[in-house]
């Protein structure tokens, strides 16, 4: 059954022993971030963390690492907790085909319980804010679903965007945020600033687990995240109308912050420890004036730690990056079997494909770089044969080591686009990109000595199942 809010998902994690309640008193810093950092270091079954005894606060409730393991990611999708990574990605791809599922509008959103307006706004009174990494410029909202509309086409439901962007709290009613130019909200802001107008915005915190997954999913510009959430949930996504902006926001959010991105203004922001495992620098970024805050009684503040991978963000954006790339590649190249784009949000990608003819794998690699997400990511593509599982890194390394002739199979294209946070780019935003063709050459590309491969024995699949059953029955 799908979850309509964060709380019901936390209850399930609790029942599945995937929620660790830390009851002894902790310091807001460095304990909260260090504990979530540690969760990423204890393996693929790590639990979510729940803190409600934080020094100096009277009623703080903080949830971290909610999506931070394959077990939790499976549970978020309503799958058995031991579902393999590859099966989770395949299930996401299967449910994707139900898109679009029209959302269900509800009027009784629990975040209508409390309101702060105008001069009474004080985010510190609503949220137990805290810092993550040593070099961060301050306290961040890093797991919100941010809603904005295209000022040129405000009534288009699909062009209304729901995305996750990092947001720094720079005052009681002021925020700074980072719209990477490849992302939809940056297009909305560009249009608003061209006209000299502020861009209205709604920031929703503590959302149901699938809204968080779609908010981090690189979908098409005019595709609705709510209609995708419905497809992934297997039931319409519950939405409600935000009181100030009139935007469509998740019904189940803990907190809804509304205001405007102030037109044509930039202010110093950052740095922030990023998903690349490196800090962004200090930049002059857009600012948000908060005009209204709506929140549930006793809101739960959800945050995620990110730093050197793997951390929660890698589990969160791994599968949801694989699926759109798989769908977009298959649209033109049905030979594509699977896509593993789980490394640093798809800066490196592994694609398995059948070959139509010699040279085909290299074309697949180039297409990966020119998908909407690829334009800002996908700096390295490894293309492997259809019988290599791109999620099985030892198999991928076998293909690399056995099938690649570097002179012919490594292609470097200079001066392509990449999002500004990519640390390896010499000029920020511009990078060379590489394809490694680790597939077996086929005619008329007649190279190497690949005519006598060793295949798995015909009886092996049956024995794989027998062994699994025997191990499970121990």
């Amino acid at each position: 059954m799908p979850y309509d809010d964060l709380r019901s998902f936390l209850d399930t994690l609790d029942k599945e022993s995937q929620l660790l309640r830390i009851t002894e008193q902790v310091l807001p810093e460095p304990d909260l971030a260090a504990a979530a950092n540690a969760a990423g270091r204890i393996g693929e079954g790590a639990p979510a963390l729940y803190f409600d005894n934080v020094k100096g606060f009277t009623d703080a409730r903080i949830a971290m690492n909610v999506h931070g393991s394959w077990r939790n990611h499976a549970l978020a999708l309503g799958l058995p907790p031991d579902t393999s990574v590859r099966e989770q990605v395949e299930e996401l791809a299967r449910r994707w085909d139900a898109f679009p599922v029209v959302p269900e509008r509800r009027e009784d959103a629990p975040w209508r319980e409390n309101t702060q307006l105008g001069p009474d706004i004080d985010l510190f009174k609503v949220l137990p804010l805290f810092r993550l990494n040593d070099g961060d410029g301050g306290f961040y909202l890093d797991k919100a679903a941010v809603v904005s509309r295209d000022p040129r086409d405000p009534d288009h439901f699909g062009k209304q965007n729901v995305g996750t962007y990092r947001i720094e709290v720079i005052g009681r009613d002021r925020l700074a945020f980072q719209p990477v130019p490849m992302h939809d909200v940056a297009q909305h802001l560009h249009a608003a600033e061209e006209s000299g107008e502020d861009l209205p915005i709604a920031i929703t915190l503590g959302n149901d687990p699938v809204i968080t997954i779609v908010a981090g999913m690189p979908m098409g510009y005019d595709q609705s995240e709510y209609e995708m959430a419905g497809a992934l949930r297997g039931a319409p996504a519950p939405i409600a109308t935000a009181p100030l902006t009139g935007f469509d926001v998740p019904w189940g959010s803990e907190v809804v912050i509304e205001g405007v991105v102030e037109s044509r203004k930039r202010q110093i922001e950052g740095p922030f420890g990023e998903f690349t495992g490196h800090y962004s620098g200090g930049r002059r970024m857009p600012t948000i004036r908060v005009d209204r805050v709506s929140y549930r009684t006793d809101p739960i503040f959800e945050s995620l730690y990110l730093g050197m991978p793997w951390t929660e963000v890698d589990y969160l954006v791994g599968p949801n990056t694989c699926v759109p790339l798989l769908k977009q590649l298959r649209a033109e190249f049905p030979e594509v079997q699977a896509v593993n784009a789980m490394y640093t949000h798809g800066l490196a990608v592994i694609v398995s494909t059948k070959k139509r003819y010699g040279g085909f794998a290299k074309a697949v690699g180039m297409r990966a770089m020119t998908t909407p997400h690829g334009l800002g990511y996908v700096t390295q593509v490894i293309v492997v044969d259809e019988d290599v599982d791109p999620f099985d890194l030892p198999q991928v390394m076998w293909a690399m080591s056995a099938k690649v002739n570097p002179q012919d199979d490594v292609i470097i294209v200079p001066n392509l686009s990449v999002m500004a946070l990519a640390p390896a780019a010499d000029t920020s935003g511009i990078t060379s990109k590489m394809i490694i063709d680790a597939t077996t050459p086929v005619a008329p590309d007649d190279r190497g000595h690949f005519d006598t491969p060793v295949r798995d024995l015909p009886e092996t699949p049956e024995w794989t199942e027998r062994l699994r059953a025997l191990i499970a029955a121990r």
Binding site: G138, V169, P181, E194, R266
Partner: protein
């Protein structure tokens, strides 16, 4: 009290702990750096603040604009 990051001498109190007297959250009015008084010295004291994260007035003024403000459409 000076800003640990840019050494500016004007610092605001943004909020205080709900349990009285446990901590304050402070902010530099120049570089906007924000910290809680109970954080480790490496985040709160100028002399312990890492060199690689320090900021000068020039760093603040010349920081790249992201995204760049587009030209105003005329008419």
């Amino acid at each position: 009290m000076i800003c640990p990051r840019c050494a500016h001498d004007t610092v605001d109190t943004v909020t205080t702990s709900p349990v009285p007297g446990v901590w304050d959250v402070l902010q530099c009015v120049r570089c906007l750096y924000m910290w809680r008084t109970t954080e480790p010295d490496r985040r709160t004291r100028r002399e312990a603040y890492p060199v690689e994260f320090r900021m000068t007035p020039a760093d603040i003024e010349t920081a790249p604009e992201v995204p760049v403000v587009p030209p105003l459409l005329v008419g």
